[in-house]
Symmetry: C2
Subunit: 190 residues, 2 copies
């Protein structure tokens, strides 16, 4: 039995390490994100995580435990994905400035025929940003590979007044609940 | 002009790095913490941070900017400091289990005669812990040098259901507000 992380996110890798898991393989799912599915955010992230887990299962042994996840940022009912350009990043950060948005992460844990899903939502409060601050933040290069165009665990920490919920969920995995879920698969983190 | 961090906490060093500050000196204050001062927690952490900053100022140039901080954990009006033994750590974690406590960090920024203070409070919700989980967590060695006997940025993440407020404040520095405060001293982080 191997543990497989179906994600190439360095943040998710780091978070598994934080949980005390050191012996796991990484097989990134392609996970072509289709945000037009019309699902509410909580169901959407679970569906996307499940799809990634199933995709990677094709390359795994039935005894392997596959962990997959998907994270999205929502505001006013709209989903903010990863920005494709500096302009798009600027627009996203301008929208998030001075407001509270929600970050959803869905997690799928798959072993053979057994699939367990969960999602967790965290509210994130941005302080009001000047255009200069947004530009300087984009110049750090941090926003480009991240949903909502910021990374809370980097320079983006300077944008965030506070959160309500699981911090690690914003980084990409709801560590506390995932630890509990893995217990049911015989993987003890504490 | 140098930036001086008056703390030997590796977490605080890491957080200044996160803010984009790379060029700073470290002169740890001894900061003999006297928790019997009878001050409320918000005033207490500011007073302790100010005392540390002034202590280090004696070894600094008047143009240097000194950053000092103090973090305490409170529950039911009691202050939980750093545990002195495994037994004390066990007792603290047993008290925190399944409940919401508050973490206060006070920050002092001192340059010559100018002293600015702030404090930030963050609520932290622990999930209910079994005695086995507490024992295994103590066995990781993580609790011993930390107020409240846990580190949110380590295996302790598995204990915390969620927070309300600034996550980095729990780690030891309210990054967002400190960034704003440093601006007034001409130190631009974003």
């Amino acid at each position: 039995m191997k543990i497989i992380l179906a994600s190439q996110s360095p943040r998710r890798r780091e978070l598994l390490g934080l949980m005390g898991l050191t012996d796991f393989a990484i097989i990134p799912a392609q996970g072509e994100e289709d945000l037009s599915a019309g699902l509410p955010p909580d169901k959407l992230v679970e569906a996307l995580a499940a799809a990634k887990a199933k995709e990677v299962a094709a390359q795994a042994d039935p005894s392997d435990v596959i962990i997959a996840a998907d994270t999205i940022v929502t505001l006013d009912g709209k989903v903010l994905g990863k920005p494709h350009s500096g302009e798009e990043a600027f627009e996203m950060l301008r929208i998030l400035s001075g407001r509270t948005h929600r970050v959803y992460t869905g997690v799928a844990v798959l072993q053979g025929q057994r699939l367990e899903l969960l999602h967790e939502a965290t509210e994130v409060v941005f302080r009001p940003l000047t255009e200069g601050e947004i530009s300087r933040y984009i110049a750090t290069g941090e926003p480009m590979d991240k949903a909502g165009a910021y990374g809370i665990q980097g320079r983006g920490a300077l944008l965030v007044e506070g959160i309500r919920g699981d911090y690690f969920n914003v980084m990409g995995l709801p560590v506390c609940r995932l630890g509990q879920m893995l217990k049911a698969f015989g993987i003890v983190t504490l």
